[in-house]
Subunit: 485 residues, 2 copies
Amino acid sequence: MAKDKKLVSEITSMDEDFAQWYTDICKKAELVEYTSVKGCMVIRPYGYAIWENMQRILDGMFKATGHENVCMPMFIPESLLQKEKDHVEGFAPEVAWVTHGGNEKLEDRLCVRPTSETLFCEHYANIVHSYRDLPKLYNQWVSVVRWEKTTRPFLRSREFLWQEGHTIHATAQEAVEETERMLNVYADFCEGSLAMPVVKGKKTDSDKFAGAESTYAIEALMHDGKALQAGTSHYFGDGFAKAFDIQYTDKENKRVYPHQTSWGVTTRLIGAVIMTHGDNSGLVLPPAVAPVQAVIVPIAQHKEGVLEKAGEMFEKLKALGIRVKLDDSDNSPGWKFAEYEMKGVPLRIEIGPKDIEAGQCVVAARYNGEKQTVSIGNDFAELGELVTRMLDKDIPQGMFAKAAENRANRTYACTTLDEITKALEEKGDGFVKAMWCGEEACEDEVKEKTGVGSRCIPFEQEQLSDKCVCCGKPAKCMVYWGKAY
Amino acid sequence: MAKDKKLVSEITSMDEDFAQWYTDICKKAELVEYTSVKGCMVIRPYGYAIWENMQRILDGMFKATGHENVCMPMFIPESLLQKEKDHVEGFAPEVAWVTHGGNEKLEDRLCVRPTSETLFCEHYANIVHSYRDLPKLYNQWVSVVRWEKTTRPFLRSREFLWQEGHTIHATAQEAVEETERMLNVYADFCEGSLAMPVVKGKKTDSDKFAGAESTYAIEALMHDGKALQAGTSHYFGDGFAKAFDIQYTDKENKRVYPHQTSWGVTTRLIGAVIMTHGDNSGLVLPPAVAPVQAVIVPIAQHKEGVLEKAGEMFEKLKALGIRVKLDDSDNSPGWKFAEYEMKGVPLRIEIGPKDIEAGQCVVAARYNGEKQTVSIGNDFAELGELVTRMLDKDIPQGMFAKAAENRANRTYACTTLDEITKALEEKGDGFVKAMWCGEEACEDEVKEKTGVGSRCIPFEQEQLSDKCVCCGKPAKCMVYWGKAY
């Protein structure tokens, strides 16, 4: 068969070359395609459908916590970007500049938003006047541009899709609570919907967002032992409000500055899913975000009754709300098995003449390869129950446990720099837990001597020792260290 | 009460100054806010929620007709934009140019997409090889930029939100069918979900999309008698395929060019809704896209039992899937009435102590102001049925009939230029139906002498006479003429 030539070609083994394995999956699972603009990619239907599922779930969580969607312009005048000193210093070196509109040169050049704090501040200055106008809990789903030098699909691209929440509150306490609330929403989403364990914590001062008073983050460990920042939530205090002259009249009729936050996750989460769950056969998708949750592959489909039975099964599963696909194309079952393994479809259901005779079918889970036989009966009731339970519970829990085990095996508690170096050498890259005195000099020295940078100060602290792993002076906290994407 | 000062201020009367009336609604219904970038606006939560509803309905219609969503980059290299001659001529004068990334000057400057034909073509050239790869039925929801000189919220802005469908087919016939199919989807959406009657037709050659072989459009008539192009669908033939060297191997193993289409609707539809249904009290929203479909306003809410009953009513209507809001704020009922009229909420439900005593409530429809009393019984069953029926059927049908009547009153069949001039002078702006010989010279002359340009050649033709309204030579078709937004 002509199409069998397109038989899923082998991908690079992840143990041999993890970076190439990653790129192979991005291309061969048809998630992305390159374009003639460096660092900008096409997100193909299969990749975009994963993002749509992430969006739908997250958007529901945002709305359930009282947030509303808005849409700001994509352009920021240079003069507006410059209003908050730290912010412009952080972003100006990496923005794309629009200098001409049509044939005319612009007086004030415009940057394509790298993030939208300045635009939200300008808007808040217009619409926030009284304590009655607070809080504003806004979010937008857009793309942003950062002129990165080295780029990789999903992980670091010049344009990427994201959501950015921007909120403004009467008090510092409310704003801090919001910052923490949204970090928890992100963590719940990553652990619940993406089956990806994360560490919640605070960034060190050197790693804060440009203009933030404090930055919280969730950090995940990829299969190769490198850390990936999966979401951030920033508390701004009243710094932006002062820079943009946002004031409101409080209940005592005084003019005061409100407090702000912002928080975001990006299409990088698709990269996180690939590198957390993927294997040498391709992508492995968590059911909650899989475009196809179960694929039915008929065996010997030319034989009488096979396609008919497969069709009935399809209708039954679809009626249960499952994203199911029946592949009755003329490709061979072997080709189909490899194709849907590459694409990470959580469940494969095989049904052939012998199965039908025995009143059963075979259900195979992608993440662990386990197969089981299940009765199809007259109405597929038992199958429907099994598939629903596996998609909702068994598979996400199993995937989470597998990822958590990998992380546990690659998390090293160390009390000296030598221990760090040794652990990384012997066991490979991973999270290092070690005490820190709080000084930036030690943070830098740890990175210089061992190669791992601070990822975050986790909310769940442990007392590994009372001394800084670097200088030996009294420790202030335990830090997660790692090499980062 | 302090907040009562914010009592909905009067808006300009539409009869006095339609343009100002429009702007007043955009601002006072909190749909948009201006920014410091000319022609770029903030779409506020209430405006964006209308767009989200439009998106959800349209996206469902696109998926039901086999389309998949993708996401292309926002940047197009100048060299890529230049590949199709007519296309670049049409768009280059009105694009925004990125010339610098970070601190570096770009070798090939990038335009911010004004539309994405060129990007889709580049992608199709990469992924279409065989007849087995066809068709590709892609769509994306993004924003685009066109450097317009005069701008108005929703109607004409430098950045606007839209969807752009881009499809590629093995044969011309398939592509033409797709072009027509999507025009019909747009018309069904406008008439069914927006209660806005549209004329389906073909653009004259002078009005085609840059690079298209033919452009179809739906044209609507606004309340002031001006026409608004509400959606377009383009057939490209194989012109783009040739310019971008997209070829596929057909079943006879020959290399041939595929045929393409594109189609789009924008946030302009929000402007169309405002100007089709709005009145001197503000916005009037069709229930299908209204962020709030019904608002419950308690009367004398401090009296015992009122808020309790209103709360029960809210829960009941919410459980029926209605987007319902209970306003128990301390603003006066009068303020609330005016506020929700301004915001165009389709139904208002009033409930006060006397109503509760009589076991009833009052339901008022926004579009015609009619009130009716309905029993609330123990379980609000009758109210639930009434509200559902009004939102699903009575209101959209009533709004459609009202808009269709306005259009009928403002549609003038004319057989001479003098008749056109006279009709417009006596009855005001509107659609003119008149015969045309097909020559561009006559099209221009009609516009010059009467002020109305060709809107479209409607699919539903009438034989008003056998002579061109302008030159008197044999007519080829009837054309809709009008002044356009």
